[in-house]
C-alpha cells in the first residue's frame, strides 16, 4: 500500500524541513546577518582595497605626483578622465614641458575598473574607500582631482 507509505514519508520530510527553520528561529538570538546600515554608519569600515572613488593624494605642502602624461586618460575605457595640461618651462633644464592644469574626473562615468591606477607611471591616483558617492545633482559628480594651487612634487619623472 504505497498510499500510506508516501503519506508517511511526505510528512517526515515536511517535519525535517520545519526542523531546519525551527533551529534558526530558536537561535535567532545570536544576531541577524543583515546590517542595520544607517545606524552603523560610523562603525562601518570598508576593506582597505575597496574601490570607492579615484582620488589624488596631496602631501603636507600641497604637492602631488601627477605629471599630466595622459596615460590614464588613454587607458580609461569610458572616457571618465580628462587631463587639461598647458605648456610650461621646466625650472632646471629650461626645456618646454607639459604641466598639469586640471585633472578632471567624471565619477558619474567611472566603472571602477582600476585600469587608470594600473597605467599611472608615478602612482599619482589611488583608490579612496568612501562608499557614499550619490549626490542630488549630476554636476557634483564631475570632480577636479588636483587641489587649486597645488603643484608637481619636485623630482617626479614619468
Amino acid at each position: 500500500m504505497s498510499y500510506f507509505s508516501d503519506i508517511y514519508k511526505g510528512i517526515k520530510t515536511l517535519l525535517t524541513g520545519m526542523s531546519v527553520t525551527g533551529k534558526y528561529f530558536l537561535t535567532s538570538r545570536k544576531g541577524a546577518i543583515t546590517q542595520e546600515y544607517p545606524d552603523n554608519r560610523d562603525t562601518l569600515k570598508m576593506f582597505e582595497r575597496f574601490r570607492g572613488e579615484v582620488v589624488m593624494p596631496h602631501d603636507e605642502n600641497n604637492e602631488h605626483h601627477c605629471t599630466g602624461c595622459q596615460k590614464c586618460e588613454i587607458a580609461c575605457p569610458n572616457g571618465s578622465i580628462e587631463i587639461i595640461w598647458d605648456r610650461g618651462i621646466d625650472e632646471e633644464t629650461g626645456k618646454k614641458k607639459k604641466k598639469i592644469d586640471k585633472h578632471v574626473y567624471h565619477l558619474g562615468l567611472c566603472t571602477m575598473c582600476g585600469l587608470c591606477i594600473e597605467a599611472c607611471p608615478t602612482d599619482a591616483i589611488v583608490w579612496a574607500q568612501n562608499y557614499e558617492n550619490s549626490t542630488y545633482d549630476r554636476t557634483q559628480l564631475t570632480k577636479v582631482l588636483n587641489r587649486p594651487g597645488s603643484k608637481l612634487k619636485a623630482g617626479v619623472e614619468d
Binding site: 534558526y24 528561529f25 543583515t34
Partner: protein, 357 residues
C-alpha cells in the same frame, strides 16, 4: 467570586443597561450595534498586531531583525502601515467593472468579522451563543471566496483573473475537509453549540477524548485551514513568483487593506475554531484556573497564538504546491482519510472508548 462575573456576559449586561433607558426593540438593536463596534475595534487592532507578529516571526526565521524602526521594538509599524494605506489614493483599472470592483473587499472583510462573533472567549464572554455555532462558522467562511472571485474577475487584469480562479477552486474543495474534520469532533460533543462543546470538554479536551481519530482530524483540519485562508504551501492565489500579487493586484489604499486584514483575521479564526473544538477554548489544562473565569481569555488567546505560530511556521518553510497537486491532495488524500476517520470516530463513540478524566 460573584463580583467577578457581573461583567462577563456582555450582551446581557449591555441589554439590561439599555432597556432601562429606551423601549425594548430599540434597546436590542443598539446593543447589537454597540457590541459590533466593540468587536470591530478590537479585531482591527488585533489584525494589525497579527501582521506585526507575522513579520517579526518571519524575520527570526530568516536571520533578520524585522521591523524595529517605528515605535519601540517596532510595535507601531503596522499602525503606520494602516495609516499609509488609509491615506493612499484609490487607483483602479478603467475598464474594471466598477460596482463589483468596489463591492469585493466588503464581502471579504464582512465575512471574516462576522465569524468572530461566535467565539467563546471565557465562560459567558461570547457575543452570540447560537445553537448552530460550527455550522454558522463554516457557512460564513465560504462567503469570503465570493469576495476574492469578484475582486479577481472585476479588476480586468489577466494575472488577477488566474489568481481568482485558482482561489475559487481551492477554497471550495478545501471547505469540504474543514467541514468533515469538524464533523468528526461534533460526533464526540453531540451538539453544534460552541458553549456546549466547551462544556463537554470540561472532563478532558476533545483531542484527548477522541485520541487517535481526533489527532488525525486535527491534522486534516490544520492543512485544510491553511488552504482555506490561501496561505503557506497553498498560496497559489497570490503566488508572488507566478502571478505577481494575484487577485488584489489592482487594489490599492483602503481596499487593499481590507483584503490584507481579512487574510490575517481569517487566520485568527481558523486558529480560534481549532482551539475551541480541539483544545477546549478557555479551559485550563487541569482546571487549575477554574476559579477565576477572567483568566479564560488568556488561555483562549494563548492557545490560538500557538496555532497561529504553527501556521506561520508552515508559511516560511514550505514551497508552494501546484494547482493540480493541490486538488489531488484534497480529493485523493484528505477526503478519503476524513471519511474513514468519521467511521472510526463513530465506532469509538458507539463503544464509548473515549478517554474521560
Amino acid at each position: 467570586m460573584s463580583t467577578m462575573n457581573i461583567a462577563l456576559s456582555i450582551t446581557k449586561t449591555i441589554q439590561d443597561w439599555l432597556i432601562g433607558m429606551m423601549p425594548e426593540g430599540v434597546a436590542s438593536i443598539s446593543a447589537m450595534v454597540i457590541v459590533a463596534l466593540i468587536y470591530l475595534a478590537i479585531f482591527a487592532v488585533a489584525g494589525l498586531y497579527l501582521v506585526l507578529l507575522e513579520r517579526k516571526v518571519a524575520a527570526w526565521f530568516q536571520l533578520r531583525i524585522g521591523p524595529n524602526r517605528v515605535g519601540y521594538w517596532g510595535l507601531l509599524q503596522t499602525m503606520a502601515d494602516a495609516l499609509k494605506l488609509v491615506s493612499k489614493e484609490l487607483t483602479g483599472t478603467i475598464k474594471a467593472d466598477k460596482f463589483l470592483y468596489n463591492l469585493a473587499p466588503y464581502f471579504v472583510i464582512v465575512s471574516s468579522l462576522m465569524a468572530l462573533a461566535v467565539f467563546p472567549f471565557t465562560k459567558e464572554f461570547q457575543a452570540f451563543d447560537i445553537n448552530i455555532g460550527i455550522f454558522f462558522l463554516i457557512a460564513i467562511s465560504s462567503i469570503g471566496v465570493i469576495g476574492i472571485l469578484l475582486g479577481g474577475w472585476s479588476s480586468n487584469n489577466k494575472f488577477a483573473l488566474i489568481g481568482a480562479m485558482r482561489s475559487g477552486v481551492q477554497t471550495i474543495s478545501y471547505e469540504l475537509s474543514v467541514g468533515l474534520s469538524l464533523l468528526t469532533m461534533v460526533l464526540l460533543t453531540g451538539s453544534l453549540q460552541l458553549s456546549e462543546i466547551v462544556e463537554t470538554q470540561k472532563d478532558g479536551w476533545l483531542i484527548l477524548q477522541g485520541h487517535v481519530p481526533a489527532i488525525i482530524a486535527f491534522m486534516i483540519y490544520m492543512i485544510a485551514g491553511t488552504a482555506e485562508t490561501n496561505r503557506a504551501p497553498f498560496d497559489m492565489v497570490e503566488a508572488e513568483s507566478e502571478l505577481g500579487a494575484g487577485f488584489h493586484t489592482e487594489y490599492s489604499g483602503m481596499k487593499f487593506a481590507y483584503f490584507f486584514l481579512a487574510e490575517f483575521i481569517n487566520m485568527f479564526i481558523i486558529a480560534a475554531v481549532a482551539t475551541t473544538v480541539f483544545f477546549g477554548a478557555w479551559l485550563s489544562p487541569f482546571g487549575i484556573t477554574e476559579s477565576l473565569p477572567w483568566l479564560g481569555v488568556f488561555w483562549f488567546l494563548g492557545k490560538t497564538l500557538v496555532l497561529v505560530f504553527l501556521m506561520m511556521w508552515f508559511r516560511w518553510t514550505f514551497p508552494r504546491l501546484r494547482i493540480d497537486q493541490l486538488l489531488t491532495l484534497e480529493w485523493k488524500y484528505l477526503l478519503p482519510i476524513n471519511l474513514a476517520n468519521i467511521v472510526i470516530m463513530a465506532i469509538i463513540v458507539w463503544l464509548n472508548l473515549t478517554i474521560k478524566f
